[in-house]
Structure formats: C-alpha cells, structure tokens
C-alpha cells in the first residue's frame, strides 16, 4: 500500500492513452477465419437436407409440399455458427459469411427460406426413385417439420397426427 506503487499504477494507465475503439462510428470487420452467419445459396442447393440432418441445434426445418417441391427453412435463432451445415453440403451451397451484426427486434428477421424444385426425370416426369423402400421413405415426405409453429418434429409418426407431439410445459409464475 505504498504511495509510490499507486502513483506508478496511475502513470501506467495514463501512458497507454485511450484505447477505446470507436465502434459504431467506424466499422470493424471480423478476422479472416471468423465464422459468422451462414448464407444459403439457392441456385446451388439440390435439396438433399443433409444440413438439416446435421444441425446440432435443429435450426434447419424441411417440409415436402409435394413430390416435386421441398421447403427448407433456416431459422437463425439458436444457430451457434458451428459450420457443420457448410461442411456437409455436397454442393457447397452454404457459406459461413463474416457477418456478426445480426441484432434485431423481431427474431423472424434472421430466417432464410428456400422453396426448391426437386428436379424430375426428363423421360418419365417423375422424381428419382430410390431402389429400396427404406430410402423411398425419404422422398415421400419422411421429413416433415412444423413450419407454422417453427418446430422440429422428432418423431416420424408425428406428421400423421394433427396435434403437436411436443407440448409447451406449463409453469406457474407467481
């Protein structure tokens, strides 16, 4: 608790000057390898739903409207920017951009929705049919998530039932 040490402490602080960044006034880009928000390129996407199967937070929902149209919806709420979707995508349609300025007052602003046409055969006009029935399940709407409530359905039988499988837990707040 000597005076000299405190004076030295004050001088050290003064010598560093003012290190504050002028952030919102001056832009400050993220470093090179920074993983920011994923951007989905709809031109390259083939609708395989590999990203949806791989997302650890289940943020990418898939819904088959009919045999030819598949909707992929990326809700950005829980995304941890891990990059597994970009790793798995066979067409490199997902890029992890360097954007981090994603603050908003409506959480629906971060979502990206792709309505994709699953290409049909040029001879017969039907979509490609997998050889085994198990694989055929995947084409016929095995993956159906709940797009209105933005909920991932984790039981395969759930799309046949109309009431939601995952219910809200009631809590008493008083």
């Amino acid at each position: 608790m000597s005076i000299a040490s405190k004076v030295k402490e004050a001088l050290v602080g003064l010598k560093a000057g003012r290190v504050t960044l002028d952030y919102p006034a001056q832009p400050r880009p993220a470093p090179e390898n920074f993983r920011g928000r994923p951007i989905f390129d709809a031109q390259k996407c083939i609708g395989c739903a590999g990203c949806a199967n791989n997302c650890p937070a289940r943020e990418i929902l898939v819904f088959d409207v009919c045999q030819e149209i598949r909707i992929l919806k990326y809700l950005g709420r829980r995304c941890t920017y891990c990059g597994r979707c970009a790793d798995v995508c066979p067409e490199k349609a997902i890029t992890m951009s360097r954007e981090f300025e994603t603050a908003t007052n409506k959480i629906g602003d971060v979502q990206q929705r792709l309505d994709l046409f699953m290409s049909t055969c040029q001879r017969c006009g039907r979509c490609f049919k997998e050889p085994s029935p198990l694989e055929q399940l995947k084409l016929k709407g095995y993956r159906v998530d709940d797009l209105e409530n933005e909920r991932w359905i984790f039981r395969s039988r759930a799309y046949l039932e109309s009431e939601p499988v995952v219910d809200d837990i009631k809590i008493e707040l008083d």
Binding site: L21, R78, F100, Q112, R123
Partner: protein, 178 residues
C-alpha cells in the same frame, strides 16, 4: 415539460442489470468484455447496477429453466417502467443447443417479453454494442428475412408419346410443361 425532458434523456443513460438464468456463461464473459476499456460502453452512459430496481434494461442470457423461471419473472417485475429487455445469445433467443433438454423451458420470451434479440454463440462484443446502438436508434438494423421461391418449373419432357413424324424424320415436340 419536465416529463418530456426526462423521457428524452432515457436513451442516453441506460442502467443495465445482468440476469443469467442458466446459461453456460459464455455470453456473460462477452457482456463483461463490453464494459472493459477496449470496447468501452460507458461512453454511451451505460452503467452496470446491482439491483433490478435501479435498472432500465435487463440483459437476459441463458435459456429459461424450470428452476429459474420464477426468479427471472420476479426480477422483471421489480424493474420500474419504462423498461427494456434484451435477449443475448442463442440460448436466450431460441432455447439454444439445449432446447430439448429436460430442465429447459425454452427461450427467455416464454417468461418475460423481449424487446431486442442479439443472436450469436456467443455474440461478439461488437455485436452486443451494435445491438445496443440499434436499440438506441443510432444505426439501422442490417438483417431482413430472405425468401427464395423457384417460380418457373422449366422441365422439358422427352416422352415417347411426344414423338411426331415430320416427313421422314422423327422429332420430339417440346411440351410447354409437364
């Protein structure tokens, strides 16, 4: 007149109360980073206070858990109005990676009404300052929903029934659509 002046001063001196209801503390560290000299947020007048009764803004992080839901709601009710709630991090915005785990009720908006969301895991300190600046009206927000619809379905079909004879050649007539 005095009331008008007081309301105008609200955006320039926000006192912040930090409430972590079950997160992993990653976003805690980023929020504390924002208060250090490098990203100094005190130049906007923001101060960290220890009691919800003194605060204007509640920074929530971590998902709403069964055990802390009541405490979070009590802290929100103890704040005097006008008040704002910011949900920081992926867990507070949407439940996080643990959204389907047994103690987690979901995002923080199931318990308190949220005004601003700052997604990220954890969000960079610049992202948090950006969120505060958007809330104070200093900058515009940069995200908007993106939707892509494939409008035309241009599949030409070459089917034996479309083979037409033309003179000696046999040509396919291209149908408009399937």
């Amino acid at each position: 007149m005095l009331k008008n002046l007081c309301q105008k001063m609200f955006g320039r001196s926000l006192w912040v109360y930090h409430a972590n209801s079950g997160g992993c503390n990653g976003c805690d560290i980023e929020v504390l980073n924002v208060l250090t000299p490098y990203y100094d947020v005190e130049r906007f007048g923001i101060k960290l206070v220890g009691s919800p009764r003194h605060a204007d803004v509640m920074l929530c992080q971590g998902p709403a858990m069964r055990s802390t839901a009541k405490a979070l709601r009590a802290a929100y009710d103890a704040m005097p109005s006008p008040k704002l709630v910011f949900a920081i991090g992926g867990c507070a915005c949407g439940g996080g990676i643990w959204h389907d785990s047994y103690p987690v009720l979901g995002p923080v908006e199931k318990v308190v009404p949220v005004n601003f969301y700052i997604p990220g895991c954890p969000p960079r300190p610049e992202a948090i300052i950006y969120g505060v600046a958007v809330a104070a009206g200093l900058v515009d927000k940069k995200v908007a929903p993106v939707e892509f619809k494939q409008l035309n379905l241009p599949i030409p079909r070459y089917h034996p029934s479309d083979l037409k004879g033309r003179g000696e050649m046999v040509v396919y007539e291209k149908a408009e659509k399937i």
